[in-house]
Amino acid sequence: MTGPLLKRLSAVALAGSLLAAGGAIAAPAASAVQGACGPIYTYSAKNNSCSYKIQHFSITGGNTYHYGTKASKTQTSIQLVCYPNTSGYGVLNNV
């Protein structure tokens, strides 16, 4: 994988499963991962510093990817749907 490509791609955290009950997400098990533009959480990511947009993603079932809202600087990319059993999450940069 090339350097420029890596810059555009995600910081991926292969986290453990999360819990969800009654549509409310339980306390995230993992702490923030620092991405290129700001912290990345289980269901959201802040764009603190990048002029380009970011987009949070979650992975469920190994072959389903869920992409949240796009976020420019000062915004948060979030998942608007609760996905149980998230096996990984991260951020797509420069979308």
Partner: protein, 207 residues
């Protein structure tokens, strides 16, 4: 694909003409002059973002969509359809969510996240560009008001943070990497639900 986009744009223009649409005060309206990068000189609350999007656009179709300073419903639908086709070409299936974002079935468990995201990123830049983002942002915040202020106000109106919560408080939270969530004063997921609603409709414009 470009032909499809042009057809959609032509349809949008026809709809606008038939509707007798006048210029909106919120649109990033272009004037005659052009910048060094051949972008129209946009005016209005979102002018800077339209200039940036125009300069970043990877296709003439996207530049044409941006040139009038607003993104129509049909243009928004056209780029999303184009994005879905781009991913369908590699066997991925997109499901759009009403409230924002989308899910993607990638077919097999073997694909690495970096591989999937490389494809998604390429399709996003070539098919969506900044069109979808500008459409959504100009709808949710037509006057391009301060993000921290409108989010703080919205969370207060939703009753999930203390009534004294200000834009400065929101920024303090935003700049703190340790806290995923603002300081909610309500239990369970109510704060999280409100945050999602405020993110998509901070001014309560969508009813």
């Amino acid at each position: 694909m470009v032909t499809d986009v042009k057809r959609a744009m032509a349809a949008a223009l026809c709809v606008a003409a038939l509707a007798g649409c006048g210029p909106s005060t919120d649109r990033a309206e272009p004037r005659g002059a052009e910048t060094n990068d051949d972008a129209p000189e946009f005016t209005g609350p979102w002018a800077a973002e339209f200039v940036d999007a125009y300069q970043r656009a990877e296709s003439q179709a996207h530049r044409l969509m941006l040139a009038d300073g607003e993104i129509s419903d049909l243009e928004y639908a056209a780029v999303r359809d184009d994005f879905s086709r781009c991913l369908a070409d590699v066997g991925y299936s997109v499901t759009w969510h009403d409230r924002g974002g989308y899910s993607l079935q990638v077919g097999s468990d073997g694909a690495s996240p970096d591989h999937v995201n490389e494809i998604v990123g390429d399709c996003s830049r070539s098919s969506l560009g900044d069109i979808d983002f500008l459409y959504e942002q100009t709808a949710r915040n037509p006057q391009n008001l301060d993000e921290f202020a409108i989010m703080a106000d919205c969370l207060v109106r939703a009753g999930v943070v203390d009534p004294s919560f200000t834009a400065e408080d929101y920024q303090e939270w935003f700049d703190n990497a340790e806290d995923e969530e603002p300081p909610y004063v309500v239990p369970g997921g109510r704060g999280q639900v409100a945050f999602g609603q405020c993110s998509t409709d901070p001014l309560g414009l969508f009813g």
